[in-house]
């Protein structure tokens, strides 16, 4: 409507038109509403005559709207109104039976069908239509075809002589006809204007008013300046039609009659004038509509207003006055309200209001808890329904309402032990009111709570994590936990095992990622004590570890769906890892054999698995298990998609790989911000462990041709560091690690230490650990040890012997440690040396090949590869010439290898082959290894 006001200069016509627009709606909605609310209002038997008038007016109003819609080609509107019309017609069936079907109704049906057919044929126009309209058009066409079958005779008779029926109509009732007639007229015009070429019987009739208007328009021109514009607009059209009517003039004799008749009709003229003015308005409207594609949203907005307005008026009339409110009535009402649920035209907000009101009424009248529970269930359900789109998140206010509702519901359930709820209770076996029996209500509180929890997650996902809003929302997490706890208590007494498992999992999901500071502090206080005592202490208070343990163990033993158990195990491991119980976590992980089949799980579980693995790795790092840490983190880190794999954000780069739909799905999988694992911490832990492993390894295998990388990513970082043309002091975490690696390569542990542990790194990474000091001490020690190893690897060739005391001074390690490290290296044949006990020195043995020898070895290896490749070519050639099909017999070539071709060289060849076979073994081994690694990687690639 706003657009009418917006154009507004011409107030009179606007008013009339807007009045026209609004009135047809009102009866419609009233209809709907009356259907919905109080059928008792209908009292058809009172006064027949007035009822007929009323009905007819309703009908004509709807018809008018339909005609308007036809004119602007708004098919969806047309369809809607047509459905209303049918309903209205059905309602006034009794009157129709008495009076006969009103001619204007038939006329509309006939016109509408013709109009639709014509639209249907107009292929181009159809193409231009937007989707909604096209769909509405086809439905409407089918509907009207079916519908018109009932009125076939009437329509045929109407089509035979349309004017007569029109006249009849006029005579029939002047009051309504005046309006309907006028609307008819401009309707017809609208059609002819659009499709002048169409020649149908009723068209001829239309020419007449047109012609008259044409004449009249000329006359009006002088008196009414307003009309100028209009007649100009219509000028070309009427010329067309004029010429056409000339053609038809001879044939249509009745035309003149109509013309005369109409001209004579005095009061019609004023009407027509009004029409003209309206018409002037119409093109504008049409223009608007043609200009903007946004007609649909416009229309929708329009409808909503209409839906809301009458409702407010309607609400107080929930029950007819004086009705005795008892449970039966309330239940009936409830059903009535519920029937509208999910239907297209239903206003969801209003429904919630109604349900609330109903709850209030039932409360006022003390109808018992059963009904209240029932209504509460439905309120929550309709709150969830409020957002039709599953992807969109609830508004926090709505959600809070919902939370309150669930809270109240739980209150009721706790207070009344005799209420049974369950999904499996059939609708008709419900017992809502009879208080001496146990109350039975259909519904599942667990599902509602789960949904509520999910909505909470969604809200968190959709809130900017750096805003105050997020913090505010996060405060509700406690309430959610509270609700889940209460539900847990409730279900423990009443629910089935399955339900208990489900609610346990919910509880676990809200517990596993939180660090239990209370327990941590307690254990810190008792650090000196033995482990068993600590355990005792832990078990005394109900800290999260105990809860997790209890809940998870219940699930392990009772759950029958794999998914819940898997999630529970993962959460349990995560929780263990988070609290540095490395061995428990690792054992649980190994026992569960999750690595083998996690790739079959659904993405959220895989994300949880990834999170768990990462947490496990970080835990291992804290405990000083560098190798374990590296292995656990390798899969996640090596892909370079850690962010995605942990569900902590989407990577933008593969935008083209996924469409919008996929992206939405992925967005829904994201973990809320407060559960995120710090990615920088993760990467730093990974890189530092890679450094501690890789640098000594690199030093040990400097000349090994077949040296493989332990960590690709680490190497990548090193290369990036090397490529820097100018090396400034390190800034980022990565640069720090790279700089530290370089220092370590030289065996310079002090520099390495200062790069790894300093102010910057502390604030960025190390302070994020709960036991910062322990981790740092561990790290220093590891750096010293690994630096020592690297030093020995790198410089052992320079020394003939080296005193262990010097080494222990250099690396600030105590003598036994140095001794053990060197011994280990000697045992592993990494260091060619022996320990001289009395002098406490390491005596080096020269067994390493010189660089020339190394090179010769490398060359031999390469030659081996070359020969093998050559053999392959040879093999293939033979296969090609020998026939296509025995090529697959790979083993065969060794026998029929054409030594026959060069028998004199056999000896040399065989020798070569033996060599080659050895080589092949080595090669295959390598390949197998690689494949294994790849598989591992694949396994957890989500």
């Amino acid at each position: 409507m706003s657009r009418f006001f917006a154009t507004g200069s011409d107030s009179e016509s606007e008013e009339s038109s807007s009045a026209d627009e609004i009135t047809p709606k009102a009866p419609g909605t009233i209809n709907k509403q009356s259907l919905l609310l109080s059928d008792d209002e209908e009292d058809t038997k009172r006064v027949v005559r007035s009822a007929k008038d009323k009905r007819f007016e309703e009908l004509t109003n709807i018809i008018k709207t339909i005609r308007n819609a036809m004119k602007i080609r708004d098919m969806s509107k047309c369809l809607e109104e047509f459905e209303q019309l049918c309903r209205a017609f059905l309602k006034s069936k009794t009157i129709m039976d008495k009076e006969g079907v009103p001619p204007f109704y038939i006329r509309l049906l006939a016109d509408l069908e013709d109009y639709l057919n014509q639209l249907w044929e107009d292929k181009e126009g159809k193409k231009k239509m937007n989707k909604n309209n096209a769909k509405a058009l086809s439905t409407l066409r089918q509907k009207i075809r079916k519908y018109n079958k009932d009125f076939e005779t009437e329509i045929v008779s109407y089509k035979e002589n349309p004017e007569q029926s029109a006249e009849e109509e006029e005579k029939d009732d002047v009051g309504s006809a005046s309006s309907s007639e006028s609307s008819d007229d401009d309707d017809d015009e609208g059609i002819t204007a659009k499709s002048l070429l169409k020649k149908k019987p009723q068209e001829e009739e239309k020419k007449a008013p047109e012609a008259s208007k044409f004449l009249k328009g000329a006359a009006d021109e002088e008196s009414e300046s307003e009309d100028d514009e209009e007649s100009e607009d219509w000028g070309s059209d009427s010329v067309h039609s004029g010429s056409e009517s000339e053609d038809n003039e001879g044939a249509a004799a009745s035309l003149a009659v109509v013309f005369l008749k109409k001209a004579l009709d005095g009061d019609k003229q004023s009407d027509r004038k009004k029409d003209d003015r309206r018409k002037k308005h119409k093109p504008k409207e049409r223009l608007e509509e043609e200009a903007g594609e946004d007609r649909d949203p416009d229309d929708e907005g329009w409808e909503k207003v209409k839906g809301g307005v009458p409702l407010v008026k309607e609400k107080p009339k929930m029950f007819a006055k004086g009705t005795e409110i008892n449970s039966a009535v309330v239940i009936k009402k409830l059903h009535e309200i519920l029937q509208a649920r999910g239907k297209k035209g239903t206003d969801r907000a209003a429904q919630i209001e109604l349900l609330h009101a109903l709850a209030g009424i039932s409360n006022e009248n003390n109808l018992g808890e059963g009904i209240l529970v029932k209504i509460k269930f439905n309120i929550i359900a309709s709150l969830y329904d409020y957002n039709p789109n599953l992807a969109a998140f609830m508004k926090p206010e709505m959600w809070k309402k919902c939370l309150e509702c669930i809270d109240e519901l739980l209150d009721i359930l706790f207070n009344n032990n005799n209420i049974f709820i369950g999904e499996n209770i059939a609708e008709d076996s419900e017992n809502l009111a009879i208080s001496d029996q146990p109350l039975r209500v259909r519904g599942c509180i667990l599902t509602l709570v789960e949904r509520m929890d999910e909505e909470f997650t969604k809200i968190m996902q959709n809130t900017d994590p750096h805003s105050q809003e997020y913090v505010d929302n996060l405060k509700d997490e406690g309430r959610v936990c509270g609700v889940i706890d209460r539900l847990l208590q409730y279900l423990e007494t009443k629910g089935s095992t399955e339900e208990v498992c489900r609610v346990y999992l919910r509880r676990i999901m809200h517990t596993y990622y939180k660090f239990d500071y209370k327990a941590h502090r307690r254990s810190l206080g008792l650090q000196g004590e033995t482990k068993s005592e600590q355990d005792q202490e832990e078990s005394e208070g109900e800290d999260s570890a105990i809860i997790m343990d209890r809940l998870c163990k219940f699930i392990y033993s009772k759950d029958r769906t794999d998914r819940i158990r898997t999630c529970a195990i993962l959460c349990h491991i995560y929780h263990h890892a988070l609290h540095s119980r490395w061995f428990q976590a690792r054992d649980l992980m190994l026992m569960s054999h999750l690595q083998d089949n996690i790739q079959h799980a659904d993405p959220p579980v895989q994300i949880l698995y990834n999170r768990t693995m990462v947490q496990l790795g970080i835990c291992a790092f804290r405990q000083g298990m560098i190798k374990d840490a590296h292995n656990a983190l390798l899969d996640i880190q090596s892909s370079g998609r850690a962010k995605e794999l942990l569900g902590q954000g989407l990577l933008m780069r593969n935008m083209q790989e996924r469409n919008a739909e996929q992206e939405k799905i992925e967005k829904r999988r994201q973990v809320p911000f407060h559960m995120h694992i710090n990615l920088e911490l993760l990467e730093c832990v990974y890189l530092v462990s890679a450094m501690l492993l890789e640098i000594p390894y690199m030093a040990a295998h400097e000349f090994d041709a077949r040296r493989r990388m332990i960590s690709k990513q680490f190497h990548h970082q090193l290369r990036v560091g090397e490529r820097q043309p100018l090396l400034g002091p390190p800034e980022s975490m990565r640069e720090h690690v790279v700089a530290a690696s370089k220092a370590m390569k030289m065996g310079d542990w002090r520099t390495c230490h200062s790069f790894i542990i300093n102010e910057k790194m502390n604030s960025k990474v190390w302070d994020l650990f709960p036991e910062t000091q322990c981790v740092r001490e561990m790290l220093v020690r590891k750096i010293q040890e690994e630096s020592l190893r690297t030093y020995l690897f790198t410089y052992s060739s320079v020394y003939d012997s080296i005193s262990m005391e010097t080494l222990s001074e250099m690396f600030e390690l105590d003598l036994p440690t140095v001794h053990s490290i060197i011994s280990k290296m000697i045992i592993n044949e990494e260091l060619m040396a022996s320990l001289d006990q009395p002098t406490q020195t390491v005596v080096m043995h020269r067994t390493e090949p010189t660089s020339l020898q190394n090179m010769a070895l490398q060359l031999a290896e390469k030659l081996g590869g070359l020969v093998e490749n050559n053999e392959r070519v040879f093999d293939l050639k033979q296969g090609v010439y020998g026939g296509y099909f025995n090529r697959d017999q790979k083993g065969g070539y060794q026998q029929n290898k054409s030594y026959q071709r060069a028998p004199d060289q056999r000896g040399g060849y065989q020798q070569k082959q033996g060599y080659q076979r050895d080589q092949k073994g080595g090669y295959q081994q390598k390949q197998n290894y690689q494949r294994g690694g790849y598989r591992n990687q694949n396994q957890s690639s989500y």
Partner: protein, 333 residues
């Protein structure tokens, strides 16, 4: 490959040049050129001038190509050569273009560029040769100067530009018979010979010690390193060829299957009396994969061969020296 016989190189009867006689002046000029301009792995090149006497090519003079620098990119080499030769004619020096020379780094001279330019020389002037000068070996005490020509077979292949495996096979060109070495004789005027004798008399024994240098590892290492690089290239080439063969055979199989299926269907149709399916252009449906050029592989082979030769030579010499040293030590102690 095993069946290949060692073909006598350099003595093919249809070669117009069987011997090369070089003036000492040319040798000195080449060495000087390298000394002045070539450092490390950089290569110096120049033009040889002389004339053919029967089956002997006499090289009497040479001049260097100027070193290319970035700033004179529009330098016209041909123009320079013509100018140079004209000037030389004015002072009555042989001005016939009979080839070119090039320095090498550790014997790595066999390359596509050398092949191409030698081909163009030999194509234009039939008797032209390329002189390869190895400064490193020369520094070790023995002058290393070699003359090469493309074999007639290779010339033909180069003319046809057919470097496919089949083409090479048909021409039976292996790495051994790509180049032919032409024996070189250095001739000096008598006056110079006299001077040389005199110089030799005057020179002390210390000047000749380079020849007895026992350290071998650096040179060997370098050679091995380069050999290894070539080896890698070779491996890559073989893998490429392997892939090609595989895809070819796969396609053959597909084609074969297709033909069979088509034949079967046609037989069925014939028995049912339906019209036969038309024969389609098979070559269009199965485009044969692009065969990798084999010339590079050949060149690499040849290069590897050269390396192996040098290493062999070097090690045998060194071995001899080591034995000698041992014997000397034995007597002294």
């Amino acid at each position: 490959m095993a069946s290949r016989k060692e073909t006598p190189s350099g003595k093919t009867p249809d070669s117009p040049v069987k011997q090369i006689q070089i003036e000492g002046l040319v040798v000195m000029k080449i060495i000087k050129h390298y000394q002045e301009e070539g450092q490390g792995s950089e290569v110096v090149q120049g033009v040889l001038l002389g004339l053919v006497v029967e089956d002997r090519l006499e090289i009497t003079n040479c001049f260097p190509f100027p070193q290319h620098t970035e700033d004179d990119a529009d330098f016209d080499e041909v123009q320079y050569q013509m100018e140079m030769m004209r000037s030389l004619r004015h002072v009555n020096i042989d001005h016939l273009h009979v080839g070119w020379y090039q320095s090498t780094f550790n014997g790595s001279f066999v390359s596509r560029a050398l092949l191409d330019s030698q081909f163009s020389y030999q194509h234009a002037i039939e008797e032209s040769v390329v002189l390869i000068y190895d400064p490193i070996k020369t520094a070790q005490g023995s002058l290393c100067l070699k003359a090469y020509r493309l074999t007639p077979k290779l010339m033909e292949i180069c003319k046809e530009k057919d470097f496919s495996a089949d083409g090479l096979k048909k021409a039976s060109v292996g790495y051994e018979n790509m180049f032919e070495e032409v024996p070189i004789v250095i001739k000096n005027s008598h006056l110079i010979s006299v001077l040389l004798w005199e110089l030799e008399d005057k020179s002390t024994a210390a000047d000749k010690h380079e020849l007895l240098n026992l350290s071998s590892s650096t040179h060997l290492e370098k050679s091995l390193q380069m050999l290894m690089d070539r080896m890698d290239d070779m491996s890559q080439d073989i893998v490429k060829y392997n892939n090609y063969c595989r895809s070819l055979s796969k396609q053959q199989q597909q084609k074969h299957q297709y033909i069979q299926r088509r034949q079967q269907e046609n037989a069925q149709r014939q028995s049912r009396g339906e019209p036969l399916l038309p024969e389609e252009d098979l070559s269009k449906m199965f485009k044969p994969p692009q065969p990798p050029p084999r010339m590079d592989t050949l060149l690499i082979c040849s290069q590897i061969n050269t390396y192996c030769q040098t290493i062999k030579e070097f090690t045998s010499q060194n071995l001899g020296k080591l034995f000698m040293a041992e014997a000397l030590q034995g007597t002294s102690s």
